[in-house]
């Protein structure tokens, strides 16, 4: 993967194609040039170049992120908010700069509204425990959707069981869109909270978050958006969305595992009790009582994963340098290509979810008579990595009457050549398994 672009030259120029095409005003990303930023992609698996199509599970990391993590440990590893010495101060400054980058990345003016977490799951749990246990009581209603990842479902189940609250679910249409008419009916129950995915990790559906937030607010509910599958792929501006909480993982947006964030409105975060208790989150500790630190540190008990946070800041800067509008245009182009290519090239393939314009970079599918595990296993022989299973959305699979699906998901570094390889690999699967299995 040779390229003339110097990765040290700054992310703003990386991956810019020489000839603009497609969406007016948006210079398309050249993923082939961009791949030079991702060292892991330059390897051979089972005799074939790695074709990584599992970015919805976790993304690969650009050199700029790897270097940021490495530099932390090599040059200024020290605990944050403690050391009165040079590298300690540098660590604190880098940690807080990463918070500022993360805030800017999702359109938040006040970095103190960004709480670093391990991932989106922890961010959602934080709200369920801290806000939920204080604000949800017997008979209160929480509205979720049928397409939620287990991370935005199970914490609410626990809360509902504990506080005797009720969960209601917005159903989906057969092509994977939320039933907005049913949502309107559910809002008449005066829910306290509406929580839903910005982008579905299984179907790729981009939900109309702004309109849904507005309607939820009109009904008096707070809104939590699970943005884990949105932030890596589309521009996100929480101010424009108008929601109250926004949760996401770093590792799906080119940052290290162990990084993630919760954004919450200042007044909500300030009113919430701590989630975890210990060092860092306190102002004063006496033997029988303590006073909490200010936000966001009130929610960051114990030594955080500093290197991962620094990596998250670097990833946010990298993506902002690329331009999230260009990232979205690139992935939209890939989805349209895949939705055209796969049905043409792969006999019998069944693809789930909405049309290309309503979908992020996710394509879940099945081949007739072949279990998705077998699909993924055979594809691996060709160096192609896809996910097989229920992708942490068992209720959604139940709704679609599917035991499991195979899923190809894209990132900034995904190319049309990757999708051509997928189509060729799937043809091999069909050939190997031959005629459809009569029994199932």
């Amino acid at each position: 993967m040779a390229t003339e672009i110097d990765p040290r030259a700054g992310s703003r120029t990386v991956g810019v194609a020489r000839v603009p095409a497609g969406t007016p005003g948006v210079v398309p990303i050249d993923p082939t040039a961009l791949r030079a930023d991702f060292p892991i992609l330059d390897q051979v698996i089972n005799g074939h170049p790695l074709v990584y199509l599992d970015s919805a599970a976790t993304s690969q990391k650009p050199r700029i992120v790897l270097d940021a993590v490495d530099a932390f440990y090599r040059e200024y590893n020290a605990n944050v908010h403690r050391g009165i010495y040079t590298i300690g101060e540098r660590a604190t400054a880098a940690y807080e700069a990463a918070r500022a980058s993360t805030a800017r990345f999702i359109g938040v003016p006040d970095p103190h509204e960004i709480v670093f977490t391990r991932n989106a799951t922890e961010a959602i749990n934080l709200v369920a425990y801290s806000w939920g246990r204080r604000n949800i009581g017997r008979g209160d209603v929480i509205v979720l959707t049928e397409m939620e990842h287990h991370a935005n479902l199970v914490p609410w189940q626990l809360l509902a069981q504990e506080s005797d609250a009720d969960l209601e679910f917005i159903p989906i249409t057969d092509d994977g869109l939320l039933r907005q008419d049913v949502f309107d009916v559910l809002l008449r129950l005066k829910p306290k909270l509406v929580a839903f995915a910005h982008v579905s990790n299984t179907l790729g559906t981009i939900n109309p978050v702004e309109a849904m937030t507005r309607r939820a607010h009109e009904a008096g509910a707070l809104v939590l958006v699970d943005g884990a599958q949105a932030v890596p792929h589309i521009p996100v501006d929480v101010a424009a969305i108008g929601c109250d909480f926004y949760a996401f993982s770093g590792h799906k947006m080119l940052a290290p595992t162990g990084s993630g964030a919760l954004w919450g409105r200042r007044e909500l975060l300030e009113a919430m009790p701590p989630f975890l208790a210990g060092g860092e989150m306190i102002r004063e500790v006496h033997l029988r009582r303590s006073e909490w630190n200010d936000i966001p540190w009130k929610f960051e008990a114990g030594t955080p994963d500093i290197s991962a946070a620094v990596g998250l800041g670097a990833a946010a800067e990298y993506l902002m340098g690329l331009g999230m509008d260009r990232v979205q245009a690139h992935e939209q182009d890939l989805v349209a290509y895949a939705l055209d290519l796969l049905p043409r090239e792969v006999p019998g393939i069944e693809i789930y979810g909405p049309s290309a314009e309503q979908r992020g970079g996710v394509v879940s599918f099945n081949l007739p008579g072949v279990h998705p595990h077998d699909v993924a296993q055979v594809l691996d022989r060709f160096g192609i990595a896809v996910r097989a299973g229920h992708h942490c959305t068992m209720p959604l699979h139940e709704r679609l009457d599917l035991a499991a699906t195979a899923r190809a998901s894209f990132g900034v570094y995904t190319t049309k050549a990757d999708l051509d390889a997928l189509a060729a690999g799937l043809r091999q699967v069909v050939e190997l398994f031959g005629t459809q299995r009569p029994l199932s």
């Binding site: 072949v370 279990h371 998705p372 595990h373 077998d374 296993q377 055979v378 022989r381 097989a388 299973g389 229920h390 068992m394 699979h397 599917l402 035991a403 499991a404 190997l432 398994f433 031959g434 005629t435 299995r437 009569p438 029994l439 199932s440």
Partner: protein, 132 residues
């Protein structure tokens, strides 16, 4: 071309032996691997200490289905004391393919279901559950 998807494995997957429901079973068990969506129901009829009939239904990957097909073939008609001694390693030998750790659960679904059946008919108690 393939170490895993040998012709006989695919043949057992496409046309599994002993696939179906049996009449008057001594025991039935539904086993599943929720993570992959493999699910089989296995039934066993024992007469005079011998596995007279065995059948399974369900759906799953080639490995889980071929394994169930081979396993049921193996123990059909065998005295229960032989079946009790049939171990996981014997099933892997029967499959005759290299099973990666990620696919072991698929291969073992039928075996686990059989162990539950043996427990239910009082032939062999289930081992104490491993902490998960």
């Amino acid at each position: 071309m393939d170490d895993l998807y040998r012709d006989y494995i695919l043949e057992h997957y496409r046309r599994p032996h002993n696939f179906g429901v049996i009449e008057e079973p001594s025991a039935s068990y539904e086993g599943s691997n929720p993570l992959c969506g493999d699910r089989i129901t296995m039934q066993l009829a024992v007469r005079d200490g011998v596995v007279e009939q065995i059948g399974f239904t369900g759906r799953g990957c080639a490995i889980s289905q071929a394994s169930a097909s081979l396993l049921t073939d193996e123990i059909k008609g065998k005295p229960i004391e032989t079946v009790v001694d049939f171990g996981a390693a014997d099933l892997l030998d029967l499959l005759g393919i290299e099973i990666s750790p990620a696919r072991l659960k698929c291969a073992m679904l039928s075996f686990d279901s059989l162990q539950h059946l043996l427990d239910e008919i009082g032939a062999k108690p289930l081992p104490a559950k491993e902490p998960s």
